[in-house]
């Protein structure tokens, strides 16, 4: 299976999906008007990955901003990971937030309460 790498823009995050290491990285800003198109290849990649996943999958989400349209797509990604976990694979989501960014921490906690995957909240200190 191929890895997937998408460069970040002002409105969309950089994405790195590596089937060899099982590391998934989403970083930057996610504020497109319509996020479905942007996230579709990621969701499709995850469907493929789930057929033969790494024993351990680590997800690093480090977003500076994301809009409500993206919030739904991010949840859809987390739901894929939840299925992966249900299929007895090890899954961990690392949710990064900047120091004092309580809204971002709260968003992470919102996801944590919906999705049955272990989360780790990681504060980034300047």
């Amino acid at each position: 299976m191929e890895s997937l790498s998408i460069e970040g823009t002002n409105k969309t995050p950089s994405v790195k999906l590596d089937p060899e290491t099982g590391v998934i990285e989403i970083k930057g800003r996610s504020i497109p008007e319509n996020s479905i198109e942007f996230y579709r290849p990621i969701v499709e990649w995850l469907d493929e990955y789930a057929k033969n996943p790494n024993k351990r999958t680590t997800v690093n989400v480090q977003l500076e901003y994301f809009n409500t349209s993206s919030s739904k797509c991010i949840l859809d990604i987390f739901k894929k990971l939840e299925s992966l976990k249900k299929a007895r694979n090890e899954v961990m989501i690392n949710w990064y937030y900047e120091e004092d960014d309580e809204d971002m921490l709260e968003s992470g906690e919102d996801y944590e309460s919906i999705i049955r995957v272990p989360f780790k909240m990681i504060e980034i200190v300047d």
Partner: protein, 181 residues
């Protein structure tokens, strides 16, 4: 009282304006406004958490505007640009005000009013629960939204928003939303 867009705009535009726009609201415009504001906020605001909160409100209010404008029929096009909207960011003492204005069909006014009143009446925890519930159960609309914009903004500002509907004609009203950060 007749609705006059220029009076309305200058009224919105009073105080310490950081940015004001009146015209067609497109995806490109949103990108440009966000870029300009990103740089401006960097200069204006020292506290990063306030800057982030305000930027989030800018993103959400602009995209809400973009998704929910009702275009007036062709006959009015000489007067208003297509997908016409108003957007103002102002500083008032120690807080910031983000205002948007757009036409909306009269038939939608009642339900939007009810929605806004309900959102404004909810506590922080209730907003959080409502947000999570919609996030988890709502599917995307045709417009590519999830109906979370207003709730998200209320959640970030603890419901600090005001609205006004002004009747334009038999079919349309002008909807003005102000959010305080």
């Amino acid at each position: 009282m007749d609705f006059n867009i220029d009076d309305f705009y200058s009224q919105m535009n009073s105080g310490d304006t950081i940015l004001a726009y009146k015209g067609s609201v497109s995806s490109e415009l949103i990108t440009n406004v966000l870029e300009v504001m990103d740089a401006k906020l960097e200069d204006l605001i020292v506290k990063k958490s306030i800057k982030k909160k305000l930027y989030n409100i800018l993103v959400e209010s602009l995209q809400n505007l973009y998704h929910h404008i009702d275009d007036l029929p062709d006959a009015s096009n000489g007067k208003f640009d297509i997908h016409f909207g108003i957007f103002v960011v102002a500083q008032k003492e120690d807080h910031y005000k983000v205002s948007t204005g757009n036409f909306i069909k009269n038939e939608k006014v009642k339900s939007l009013k009810q929605r806004l009143d309900r959102i404004k009446s909810l506590s922080k925890d209730e907003l959080k629960e409502l947000y999570k519930n919609i996030l988890n159960h709502q599917e995307f609309t045709q417009k590519g939204g999830v109906g979370l914009g207003l709730i998200d903004m209320a959640k970030r500002t603890e419901g600090n928003m005001e609205y006004k509907f002004t009747k334009y004609n038999e079919e349309y009203s002008f909807f003005n939303l102000e959010i305080y950060v």
